[in-house]
Each structure stands twice: as structure tokens, then as C-alpha cells.
């Protein structure tokens, strides 16, 4: 969590990259219109949605130190909340949202309260176990298509704003992401966030200070589940389809990869990670069908080189620059 030591300097590389990124993302639909390539909008929407999911995972993984290997479960639950309600003819987005919130918090509360009794590798595995149970549950739910999946009858309708339109969906996702980023920023610096981060650092000590850490961890777990569920709601609208494969362990693994690739425990890490991962995937896929043989070693290389993923590289640049500028000001002072 080195970002606390590198202050958000106004023109630091991290700041510039993140700001440029957000502005660029806001302009994508314009670009797509001018270039007559609406596919870009769909692709970037997917990135945004995965960024939201990764952001939610980063809350528990990066800030809380809880490695969930089953976070795709909540993505899948969000998708199915839309798909199943729409299957039953309910396309009211608010109702679907409500359902997502309720389902994700209930499931999060139930599984979280058991999973949080463990820690370390056991936590990784027990979250995986819960996700797998739900995966198999949905595979056998014949009524909702089982393994073949369930097509959305129509998109979510938020009082007239219908999420099937690519541009509407794009801006909704962008808005949710921005809100998520802002809320996450606020959260990690609040009392609650400090408790979460300190518990990651040294849980035993937190208890000795008088914190019932279990309660706080459960709370952040549920919050994270809900945010991921919302990403699922958007994802359901993007693919217009619900499938158990969304909650498979590979998807959970990909979410972890995104968070780590971008920079664990950093605000913009998940976005950077989702962007890097999906774009690299697309780029390499165009290059060769054996793209994974390149992608795999790339991941290994990045891990060996940088501890904090892409955000880590940016921070290194910043640290070099600040130490250089410190030197410069020092010399100036000396010369006067």
C-alpha cells in the first residue's frame, strides 16, 4: 500500500495517466461515432464493467487482504438477477437492481460469515468452494437454461432509460465506475477503511487494540459483493445473456489477475488492469491463435519486474521524479 507514501502530486505520472484515461474513456463514444466503429464501444463497455468488478474485488483483496477466489459468483448473481427477472417478464431496472442488492447481500452475508472464520489459503479455497456450489446450482437449473444459459428477453428499463442501447449502457457503466472509484477513494480513507487496511496489515494487533475485526471484514465483504453484483447487472445487459460460465472459477481467476496486473490496493489499479488484460488479449488474439503462449510469460514477467503491477511502474516513475526534483530544489537552496 505504498500509495500512502507517494502523495497524489499534481502532475505525477500516476495522476496524469489516470486523468487522461478517464477523459479518454469519456470520449470513446464520440470517437466510435466518427470512425463508424461501434464495436469499440462494446469492447470498452466490457472493460468498464470488468473494471467495476475488479474494483469491488480490490476492496477486499487489495485493501482488506482477503483473497477471494470466488468473486465471479457475484458477477454471475447480478447477471442472473437481470436474466431471471426478465425471463419472468419483469424488465423494470429498479426492481432488478433491488433484487441484485438483496441477493448479493444475503449471499455475501451467508457465505462471508462462514468464509471469514478462516484466513490465508483456506479463505481462498472456501470462497472458491462457495462459488463452485452456486455454479453447479445454476448448471442444474433446467428451467433457466442450465448450462446452455438464458437469453434476456429485453434490457433493463430504468424509468425509460433502457440499457440495451450501446451508448446508454456505455455511459451507465462509465458513471457507475466513476461513482465506484470516488466512493472507494472516500471509503479507504474513512474510519471504516482505515480499520480494514490496518486489519490487513496486522489483524492480531487490531484485536488487541479493541477492534472486533470480523465484523468489519464481513461488512467490506458484503459491500464488495454488492458492487460486483451491480457490475453483473450491467454485464447481463451487455451480453444480453446469462450463463453459469460467468461464475466459473476461471472468471474469478481473471478478476484476480486484473487487480494484480493493474496494481493491488491502488485506486486505479483495477481499471488499469482490466484495460491492460482485455486489450492485450484482443491484440494478441489478432496476432496468433496461440496467444496464450505469449500472454502467460508476459504475466510472469510483469510479476517479476513490478510488485505493484502497472500502478507500481507508474509509482516508480513518480518516486524517481520526486527524488530528482528534491535534489534540484536542494541544490537551488544551497546555491542561494
Amino acid at each position: 500500500m505504498q500509495q500512502s507514501s507517494v502523495l497524489p502530486h499534481k502532475w505525477s505520472a500516476s495522476f496524469v495517466v489516470n486523468a487522461v484515461l478517464l477523459i479518454a474513456l469519456a470520449l470513446v463514444p464520440l470517437y466510435a461515432r466518427s470512425m463508424a466503429d461501434p464495436f469499440v464501444v462494446t469492447l470498452i463497455t466490457r472493460i468498464l464493467i470488468f473494471a467495476i468488478a475488479a474494483l469491488s474485488l480490490n476492496l477486499i483483496l487489495g485493501y482488506g487482504g482477503l483473497v477471494s477466489f470466488g468473486h465471479a459468483l457475484y458477477l454471475g448473481l447480478g447477471v442472473y438477477c437481470v436474466a431471471i427477472l426478465s425471463f419472468h417478464g419483469i424488465d423494470n431496472g429498479w426492481l432488478q437492481l433491488l433484487a441484485t442488492l438483496v441477493v448479493c447481500s444475503v449471499v455475501g452475508l451467508l457465505t462471508g460469515s462462514i468464509a471469514l472464520r478462516t484466513s490465508g489459503i483456506s479463505f481462498i479455497m472456501i470462497t472458491l468452494a462457495f462459488a463452485q456450489m452456486f455454479y453447479f446450482l445454476f448448471v442444474s437449473l433446467s428451467q433457466y437454461g442450465g448450462d446452455d444459459g438464458l437469453r434476456l428477453a429485453s434490457g433493463s428499463d430504468f424509468s425509460g432509460i433502457i440499457l440495451t442501447d450501446p451508448r446508454t449502457l456505455y455511459f451507465s457503466s462509465f458513471l457507475v465506475l466513476c461513482l465506484g472509484l470516488y466512493a472507494c477513494h472516500k471509503l479507504v480513507h474513512s474510519r471504516f477503511g482505515i480499520v480494514i487496511r490496518a486489519s490487513k496489515s496486522n489483524e492480531q494487533r487490531m484485536k488487541a487494540l479493541g477492534y472486533p475485526t470480523y465484523r468489519y471484514r464481513l461488512a467490506i465483504y458484503v459491500i464488495s459483493a454488492i458492487l460486483c453484483g451491480i457490475a453483473g447487472l450491467l454485464y447481463g445487459n451487455l451480453t444480453q445473456f446469462g450463463s453459469p460460465s460467468y461464475m466459473s472459477w476461471t472468471t474469478s481467476g481473471e478478476l484476480i489477475v486484473m487487480v494484480m496486473l493493474g496494481g493491488i490496493g491502488t485506486l486505479f489499479g483495477p481499471l488499469l488492469g482490466a484495460l491492460a488484460m482485455i486489450l492485450t488479449e484482443e491484440g494478441l488474439k489478432a496476432l496468433t491463435e496461440h496467444w496464450m503462449a505469449i500472454f502467460g510469460p508476459l504475466i510472469v514477467l510483469l510479476i517479476i519486474v513490478s510488485r505493484l503491477g502497472i500502478a507500481g511502474i507508474l509509482q516508480t516513475i513518480d518516486r524517481r521524479r520526486t527524488s530528482r526534483s528534491r535534489l534540484v530544489t536542494q541544490r537551488k537552496r544551497e546555491s542561494t
Binding site: 472516500k186 480513507h189 474513512s190 471504516f192 487490531m206 488487541a208 487494540l209 479493541g210 477492534y211 472486533p212
Partner: protein, 247 residues
């Protein structure tokens, strides 16, 4: 009325009885030292008082309330603070944030999701005050990871004090300190005397005899003597079991 009372405490590890029907009490404002040979069960006792492990039998009363079944965090909120032998701080945070965490723990729940802690005077002021007491005020924005070992020990103490504890459990606070530092620590503990009840476990006899109001000698989980420093120093059993010849 005593601050802490321990009645017939028992803790067994397999065949070994680490705490054996142990009786003990601490008065408010008193430093009560526990000494005894290695493996006598001193640390085991401290961890039971702190609530990290459960005794097999017996009772622990704090302010006449039974806290035997309470968890670590509940006891901490009652005012039982434990210092760690190995420095145990939060290295990612600044010194100020470390102490603020202690203050925050005692202000009720922390389910506040929005306002940054850096804008909450109710947290900052008491924390600054505690840092001032240990002489770290001008270093408060330095990340703890960048602090020297000695500073971290001071911070550790600031964290304990910021929680406004009533009882301190200190397990070998002088361990690993050079003579110069032990003397400083002794002075600091001396200045705390009278304000808190203190349980002190220490092998540094100079410090123990200087600080303690009462000393309990623990051997194989049992108390073999309890009394003032003078009485203990003169006790032949203690000499045989622990002190040995003059050092």
C-alpha cells in the same frame, strides 16, 4: 478493591501444567512484577490475561467483573492493554495514523464510511497528545516503515497510552535493549507509576527491583513467593530457584 484479580487459574498443555491454580492480584496504580525461571509460565499467564488463550479453569476478574470468557478486543476496550515483545505496529501507516487507530478503537464503532479520518479532530488531537508524551510529535507524519527501531518502540508505547488503559501487561519490555536503552525504559515506566496498574514480566533484575511494588515468583506454574522487592531478594527459595548467586 483490586483492579485485577486472578483466582485459581489453570492452563494445561498436554501433560504440562503451565499455570497451576494460580492466584494473583493487581491494585490500581501498582506495578506488580512476575519473575521466575524460563518456562515457568509467565508468558502463558500474560496471554491468558490478555485473552489470547483461554484458561482451562479459574477466574479472571477486572474491576470485580468476570472477564474470563471475553475475547481480546472486548478486554482491550475495558482498558487492558498489552505491549508486544516484538514491535507490532502498522508499518504502512504514519505514526499519527497508528496512534489514531487506538483512539478510534475507543470511540465506539467504526462504521463511518465517508469522512476522511484526516479531517477528524476528535481523532487527531488525542493522538497528537499521546505522541507528544513519548516525544515523537515532530515525527508524526513519517511512515512507520521508515522509522528507527527505537522510535518504533516509543510509538508502540504511545499507542498503548492513547487507549487510556487502566492495566498494562508488559512481557519483557527490556528484552533486546542495550543498557542505555533499558535505563531509559525504566525511567519511562517509573514516570507511569501510580497512573496505571502494571503487570511486568522481566528478567532484568535491576529494573524489576527498581520498579516493582510487589513481586510474585512463579515456578512451574505455581507461585512460590509474593512480596516486596526486599522480601523477595532475601527469600532463600527464590535464590535457589531463580536468582542464583549474585550477578
Amino acid at each position: 478493591m483490586s483492579l485485577l484479580t486472578v483466582r485459581q487459574l489453570v492452563k494445561r498443555y498436554g501433560g504440562l501444567t503451565a499455570t497451576d491454580h494460580f492466584d494473583f492480584d493487581v491494585q490500581a496504580g501498582e506495578i506488580h512484577a512476575i519473575i521466575g525461571p524460563n518456562g515457568a509460565g509467565k508468558s502463558t499467564l500474560i496471554t491468558q490475561l490478555a485473552g489470547e488463550i483461554r484458561p482451562d479453569a479459574g477466574q479472571i476478574l477486572f474491576n470485580n467483573q468476570d472477564i474470563t470468557g471475553e475475547r481480546v478486543e472486548q478486554r482491550a476496550l475495558r482498558g487492558i492493554a498489552r505491549s508486544y515483545q516484538i514491535t507490532s505496529v502498522f508499518p504502512e501507516f504514519s505514526a499519527l495514523q497508528n496512534v489514531m487507530l487506538t483512539v478510534q478503537a475507543h470511540q465506539g464503532h467504526s462504521f463511518c464510511f465517508w469522512t476522511p479520518t484526516s479531517r477528524q479532530p476528535t481523532l487527531i488531537e488525542p493522538a497528537e497528545h499521546a505522541l507528544e508524551r513519548v516525544g515523537l510529535k515532530d515525527r508524526m507524519h513519517v511512515p512507520v516503515a521508515d522509522m528507527a527501531h527505537g522510535e518504533q518502540r516509543q510509538l508502540e508505547l504511545a499507542m498503548v497510552l492513547a487507549g487510556q488503559p487502566r492495566l498494562l501487561l508488559l512481557d519483557e519490555p527490556m528484552a533486546g535493549m542495550s543498557q542505555a536503552e533499558s535505563i531509559q525504559m525504566t525511567t519511562l515506566l517509573h514516570s507511569l507509576k501510580g497512573q496505571y496498574g502494571i503487570v511486568l514480566v522481566e528478567h532484568d533484575m535491576d529494573a524489576v527491583f527498581k520498579l516493582a511494588d510487589r513481586i510474585t515468583v512463579l515456578v512451574y506454574g505455581r507461585s512460590i513467593a509474593c512480596g516486596t522487592p526486599e522480601q523477595i531478594r532475601a527469600n532463600p527459595d527464590v535464590k535457589a530457584a531463580y536468582l542464583g548467586g549474585d550477578e
